[in-house]
Subunit: 262 residues, 2 copies
């Protein structure tokens, strides 16, 4: 199975530019699953909800869903992409998993970062896993990484590949994802963005270094901190079903839940 | 507060040699807390329980407890040290926290590695935290690291400093401890051993690189992979009580337990 990430610099407010960029970069990708950054269609650094509205969209209908249904059908692949979801008057920092047959599944970010707490609702979908071509894809977004419970929950629900859309600004996550892969024996695909956004009070520089990591903690693909690039690797997702870190140590079954505080 | 680790190469079966080495290396250490490796008094690679018996000892009385009570009183410090505990006919891979006033607390390793499953009982003490000079010390041993629940449990129970005695053979833990420090905003002290042990079927080379990491993920001290060394740093353990990774993101309170699988 061929899986990859698309690392690029979305432009804040410029949905058309962003979709066009995605369209060009994914053309002829010949992959099974591609992961895109968080809020890849809208940009990140919003000040208020009024600004967010024009680049928001409903989850399963409308121009963003249509756009990705179109690409996944044409390229015959699944895409995981972060987008700004609006449902009624609520905004969510969401991820769309779009299948080539047009089916769409949604994850709404649970652990909101900084001002996202003011702008978005806390996600209510839970951490879910969806099957595609024999692989189980788990969804999580950016800051979910710092809570080991996120990836753990996905692994316990059977994820082989954690599809992690990100807009990272802190320097720690990429290395931590090696730990997340190891401790759960799963593939992780962190699709991060690059570039800088600023408003009157803040300036965020996104750290790039998107990364695909194996269940054994090997980095299978990595981007630099400033390139726009699509990287694809061949993996065997069933490698993630072997949870033995040694011949007798199983990273899930050897847990001693009776001793854990939650 | 001054905290440190002692990295050295215990000799298998040679308790007297190991205690003498510890005694020499800790002389005049002028620290508050020193962490020593796992099974530091006995060595690691036992084949059967018959071999283990002569270098095992009860937890709170006997020659090993007496030896460390003596050092902690003389050096006016607390010591965390891995030892081979025997209680009735059961062996445990244990850690002793010895206070300068002679009080001793015990942690028995919960997540056993490889052949340890055959040789030792699973620890029954749980993950506990003990106060010393205003800092809360949490205890865990070696392979406990790969289960994020171990350090998380200690952090939720108030640990400021996780005292991690280790005999590491895999290459991942030292980097993972940066993640453990960050995700829990705690100090971690991994005291690893060096050297090689072999028996008829196995050969283990221990990886050294003992490490002290801050709640912000900074490495405050690190040994090489083959030196015998005592390293001590000055820390403020109350830094671990600030659980905010940004001004609005608290690594413990922001957990959304309703969405976690355990």
């Amino acid at each position: 199975m061929k899986v990859g990430f698309l690392q690029f610099a979305p432009k804040l407010f410029h949905e058309r530019h962003n979709l066009e960029k995605i369209n060009i970069m994914l053309k002829g990708c010949k992959a099974d699953v591609i992961v895109l950054p968080e809020l890849a269609t809208s940009g990140y650094l919003f000040t208020n909800q009024k600004e967010m509205k024009p680049v928001s969209a409903p989850a399963k209908s409308g121009r963003i869903a249509d756009f990705f249904r179109n690409i996944t059908a044409k390229e015959n692949c699944a895409i995981v992409v972060g987008f700004l979801e609006k449902e009624n008057d609520n905004f969510y920092n969401s991820q769309m998993l779009v299948f080539p047959n047009g089916r769409i599944e949604i994850y709404r970010k649970i652990h909101l970062f900084l001002d996202e707490k003011r702008l978005y609702q806390v996600g209510d979908t839970g951490f879910n896993v969806f099957e595609f071509r024999g692989a189980k894809l788990g969804l999580m977004i950016c800051f979910d990484w710092i809570f080991p419970e996120s990836a753990r929950t996905l692994a316990l629900r059977g994820a082989d590949i954690i599809c992690h859309s990100a807009n990272l600004v802190l320097p720690f996550c990429q290395k931590a994802m090696i730990t997340r892969s190891l401790e759960n024996r799963v593939f992780t695909i962190t699709a991060n963005r690059i570039g800088t956004e600023k408003n009157e009070t803040q300036e965020f520089t996104f750290t790039g270094i998107s990364q695909i990591t194996s269940p054994k903690g090997d980095i299978l693909a990595q981007a630099t901190e400033d390139e726009e690039i699509l990287k694809i690797v061949e993996i065997n997702p069933t490698d993630a079903q072997n949870k033995f870190v040694t011949e007798t140590n199983h990273v899930l079954n050897d847990r001693r839940r009776e001793f854990y505080e939650i």
